[in-house]
Amino acid sequence: MTGLRAAATVAVNTVQESARSRFFALCLVFGGVVLYASLVLGLLAADQEPRVLLDFGLSLIELLGLAAAVYGSATIVLREMETKTIYLILTRPVSRPAYLLGRFLGLMAATAAAMIVMSCLHLAILFAKGWAWTPAYVAAVFGSFLKVFVVAALTLFLALFSSSILTALVIALILWTLGHFLAEIRYMIRWGSGLGVMAPLHALSYVIPDLQLLNVRDRLAGPRPLLAPLGYAAAYAAVWLALAAAKFSRKEF
């Protein structure tokens, strides 16, 4: 069986499993929260309601997508090792990188589907509140997905490297937070260049994902180039997935 075919089979299985276990719960939570928020915000910000609802909804879509993808990346392989379902896959003619890629891409496909469904719910509420459609909305959701994508790839590596779900989650969330301040971190490094104390931070700056570059949501009114964020996200994720595959290939069960 070719590596790509095996990866596609594993990816489809991952989508199937994710859809049945988490997908609808996530979308229902989102729908409920946004509907409730629309009622509250309608009272608090009568003149700015669509704008506030737009920002609130986009942030929530990103956070729920992040929660699902990062938790999924941290647990998907370790849980399979724990339940031993992985034995039934790796004892078949499936290469370990193909298995890992399939699990990751399946998880990302399920996350993308959940974010699309949440966006549709969000748009329905926005339209009901008189919001005027702009294609920038799609760019904003796409940018959020790219952020989720890079952090999920990093989390998968962390989970395999540490063999600990909690450690992977904590480090991923720290790097997620730092990723929104990478420009400031680089400024500090330039400011303190030559100081030995900056060396670890300098090294860390190569690991931290540049989430500001992917934060299209904050630039809805201005230019929204998507090619550079897409290229960056693909390259960043590819590096961490390659490292994860190298680590996983040496693993014994």
């Binding site: 069986m1 049945r20 003619p93």
Partner: protein, 253 residues
């Protein structure tokens, strides 16, 4: 894949587990200097107390572990060779499956990973379900099935791709007497059709009925190899020979 005279060969195999904690590494022996040869078409039993090295031996034969000494050949190839993997079926002890899938969906997934597809896959799924007497439960969620039925799903996935070699780790563990007899009869029928079976079990009665030869392990070492004639002519049968071997009363390497 051509028919190898010996389905599984372990030559001077050793496996030592290394555990590192706080900079200190401890070593545990899994198996030591283990040499075995299972002939094609044979039903071969692996007996031993808990921790004697049975599961380690299986994992080495499946490529889930790498030996620290010696060599392992499956159907004349490395255990991680895709052709060897395609010709091997494996049932782990207490198999676990994705609870949201049905047996038919799970088998479809494993069948695709084994390189099957289309009408041939659907036919093999129906045949495998029929062999393990699970056809009427094929479309219920696995999470709703009893332990015995899940064990049958495990056996169905092991025979799905019509492998030459079946490696079965405690296939009747935790089952009721009727289910044990049905699975034993199924294995005997598969062996009669030419499948090589390597099986471990704590049920000496089942091993005695099914196997042509057995190997007995104690503390990771081979302490006896017996043929059916040995236990057929021995007072107390295989059970007494096993007790003698694991207590060191009459070790026959």
């Amino acid at each position: 894949m051509g028919e190898a005279v010996e389905a599984l060969v372990l030559s001077g195999v050793g496996k030592t587990y290394a555990y590192s904690h706080l900079g200190r590494t401890t070593y545990t022996r899994g198996v030591e200097n283990l040499s075995l040869a299972v002939r094609a078409g044979e039903a071969f039993g692996l007996l031993g107390l808990n921790g004697s090295g049975k599961t380690t031996t299986f994992k080495l034969a499946l490529g889930l572990l790498r030996p620290t000494a010696g060599t392992v050949r499956v159907l004349g190839r490395s255990p991680r060779d895709p052709q060897a993997q395609a010709a091997t079926g494996y049932l782990p002890e207490l198999p676990y499956f994705y609870p949201f899938l049905t047996p038919r969906e799970a088998l479809r997934f494993y069948g695709r990973l084994s390189g099957l597809g289309g009408a041939a896959l659907e036919r093999r799924i129906d045949e495998s379900l029929a062999v393990v007497k699970l056809s009427d439960k094929a479309d219920r969620k696995i999470g709703q099935l009893s332990k015995g039925l899940v064990q049958r799903v495990g056996l169905a996935q092991a025979i799905l791709h019509d492998p030459q070699l079946l490696i079965l780790d405690e296939p009747v563990s935790g089952l009721d007497p009727l289910a044990i007899k049905e699975i034993r009869d199924t294995l005997a029928a598969l062996n009669a059709r030419g499948k090589t079976i390597v099986v471990s079990s704590h049920s000496i009665f089942d091993i005695e009925k099914l196997c042509h030869r057995v190997a007995i392990l104690r503390d990771g070492r081979l302490v006896a190899q017996l043929a059916r004639a040995d236990w057929a002519n021995a007072e107390g049968g295989l059970e007494q020979l096993f007790v003698d071997a694991v207590t060191g009363a009459e070790a026959r390497p």
